[in-house]
Each structure stands twice: as C-alpha cells, then as structure tokens.
C-alpha cells in the first residue's frame, strides 16, 4: 500500500505528479476571477474558474494520501520532517479553502458574469498559501532529496574496497 502511494510501480512519486494540477489551476482560477471582475471574459471565465478549482481539488484530494505516505517515511530527526509538517498543515488549510470556494460557486457559476468578492478572496487566499506551501514542497525535493533515488539504492551503489573488506569478513 505504501509502495503504491509512493508511486514505486510507476517509477515516479505520485505526489510530485498529482500536485501539478492544483499548483497550476488555483492561481489560474484567481487570474480568471480577476479578469471577470475587470469585465473581461464574462460567464465563460466564471465557468473556467469553477472547473479550474474543481479539477485542482480532485487532484489535491488524491494527492493527500500520497503526500502522507511520503512524509511518514521521513525520519523525525531529519529537518525535512518539520518542513513536511508545515507543508501538510498549509495544504490542509488551503484544500479546505478550495472546497468552500467551490461550494460557494456551484449554484451561480453557470449564469453569473463575474465572481463575487468572497469566492474571489478565497481564490486569493488559496493562491498565496499555495505559493508558500508549494515552495516548501519543492524544498523537500530539491534541498532535502525526499523521494529522490528512493527505489534504487542497491542498483546504483558502487562496491568500494571497504565493502569488499566487509564482505570478506562476513
């Protein structure tokens, strides 16, 4: 189960793949919201924004268990553990915000020509938190190497004379 969630069958971490949609689409939703407020795009952009939040949310909900599986593998003494915890908390908040955002729009998105102020501010909140949280997530990979070369330790390892000496002793 853990191996499935970590994406070992795919050869690519599932979390790192699923997060692309919310990371791209919630800021895009904010952009479309702002355009409708400026009188550009009208109902087409209201709808686009709605589907952007929806698709992002679907992917984000799938990304939660995969992210948890990755985080549970990080050792407590690794500084990445704390970073992962912040990433987790921020993501919970902003996924909740996206869920409310979608709920507020579901009745009006097919007819209204611009986005109301409350959903717009939720989009804004989502985007800001997402930038912070996404950056932290990227740090986990690019600074701490979480889920990098995870499956291939044995395959890559070059035997050293030290190993050979140990082998001989065993």
């Amino acid at each position: 189960m853990k191996n499935f969630l970590q994406g070992k069958w795919l050869g690519h971490p599932l979390h790192g793949f699923l997060v692309h949609l919310p990371v791209a689409l919630w800021p895009a939703a904010l952009a479309f919201d702002l355009l409708t407020r400026a009188g550009i795009g009208g109902n087409a952009f209201v709808q686009t924004s709605f589907y952007a939040i929806g698709l992002g949310l679907a992917s984000a909900l799938l990304a939660i268990p995969t992210g948890l599986a990755d985080w549970l593998d990080v050792k407590r003494e690794n500084p990445a553990w704390k970073l992962g915890l912040y990433h987790l908390i921020l993501n919970s908040i902003l996924t909740g915000a996206a869920l409310i955002n979608l709920g507020l729009r579901i009745n009006t998105f097919q007819t209204s020509a611009s986005v109301a102020l409350v959903p717009l501010s939720l989009s804004f909140l989502c985007t800001v938190l997402l930038l912070v949280s996404g950056y932290l997530g990227g740090r986990l990979v690019y600074n701490y190497g979480i889920s990098v070369a995870r499956a291939s330790a044995e395959k890559r390892r070059q035997p050293t004379p030290m190993d050979r000496r140990l082998d001989r002793r065993n």
Partner: protein, 298 residues
Amino acid sequence: MLRNLLQGKFLQYPLHTLLVHFPIGLFGLSFLLDSLAWFVQPANALLRGAFYTLAAGLGMALLAGIPGLIDWATIRIDHPAKKTATLHLLLNLAAVGFYLLNFFLRRGTLTATTPPLFPFILSVIGIGLVSVSGYLGGRLVYENGIGVGRHRRWTEVPRQTIYASAQVTTPSGWIPVARAGSLKEGETLRVQVDGTTVMAIAKLQGVFYAFQEFCPHRGGPLSEGSFQSEQVQCPWHRSCFDVRIGQVTRGPAKVALQTYPVMVWADTLHVRLSPEFLPKDKGNTGQRQEKKREPVFS
C-alpha cells in the same frame, strides 16, 4: 550570472520545474473543458474557456522552455540521463508545435457552439505528449537527481568524464588523468578508471583530493557536490564526508568513502588504485606490477 539565475539558484529551487506546473495544469484543464463541451449545452462558454486556458498554457510552456534548455545543456555529456533529457526536450517541442497549431485553428472558431473535432484531436495528442514528457521530466528529477541540491554548488561541475586506464601508468604505478592546471579552486573532475572505479578529484585550498564518486548512501554524484573546507556534501541527501580520509561526518550515509592517493607530477594529476582494483590479467596477483609506459592522457 544569467545561467545561475535561470537555474533558479537564487530561489534554491530549479526554475524549470517550478514553471512546468502551469502548462501541465492548464493543458489538463483545457482538455477537461473540451471534453465537457461534448456533453454540456450551451458549449460556447466551455470552448472559450478551453481556448484561453490553452493559450495561457502555451505561453507558460514557452517560458518554462528557457530554463529547461539551460538545464538540459548543463547535464554532463556522458550522463546516463542525457538521453532521457534529450527525449524530454524533443517531446516538449513536438507538444508545443501541436498546441501552436491548435491555438491558431481555434482562434477563428471562438463563436462555435459545438466542439470542433480536429482541434480536439490535436488536444488529445498534445495531452498524450505532455504526459509522456512530464513523466520523463519527473524521472530526471526523482530517478537521476537532476537539479537536486544543485543550488549548493557555485563552481562549475564536470562537463564530461575523463577516462583513464590502469594499464597506462608511470613506472611506479601512478595513473595520469589530467592537467593539474585544468582544475580551478573548488572545482572537480570526474574520472573513470577502466570501467571499474569512478572517482571525483577536487581542488580545495590548493590541495587535490581524490575520492569515490558515488555517495555510499544512494549513489549521489559527489563530483557535483558542494565543499566546505575539507568536506564534501552529497547534493542529494546532504551526507557529508571528510575528503582526506573518507569518514562520514554527517548522515544519512553510514559507510565511509573510498579515498585515493593523488599527486601532481610534471603538471599532471596522477592517482593510484589499490592492487585489488587493478584489472585481473595474468600478471596481477595482488602485487603491484610496474609497467614501463609513457603517461598518456586526453
């Protein structure tokens, strides 16, 4: 420096991998809206949305291409990931080509109320290409560690591996590898001896150190590591080693690095392997054989 900027070192986050979220997400949304337009009436709003998200995705794809190209160019020529990276590059170019065509075809039909078939087919092809290419890009990061820990290294990384042979040694068994002057302070060479031993040679405070290239933890490339006094830090999981004796100074690595004797003679760097690493020909009985050959190197 422009290259460091484009590689995202100031952010400590590779710029290409940050920007690619947007084309992937936006092309995905465009495809969703396109697909919905076959079922939901009136479809015009969805089709307009699909067009504008496609356009935004295209713009972001072109933007992401610039740091991507720089990243591709800085992967070592003989790196096993270079082929994957080239394929990733070509697939992305093809995807951008299809989306450009798609964009121009859709631009004329913005008032349509039924989904146009040919642009939809182009979108399907585009999504397919982006999926495969994105997967390859992910492999480059998660399997090959491209871009991981790169921001900690500020000096040049080796452009290619130097191939040396234990068959070609000085009379006392030293293997010539490269001109000592070719290495600047804080830089490294990557040397492969006879396909059996891969080592990194670093110049730190004017002194040369040779040590095993692959980190004993998960095989991170130490020739691309960062240095602090006599310590090397693996770019991937931040294990630290003392390059003088190979000892682990910080985990997660547990096994010490193999280090090799290195000397400069006649402005040429020479390394030495322990006898057990020499090729097992008929003469090699574990005792070092002295070969009377001239030093040859590239």
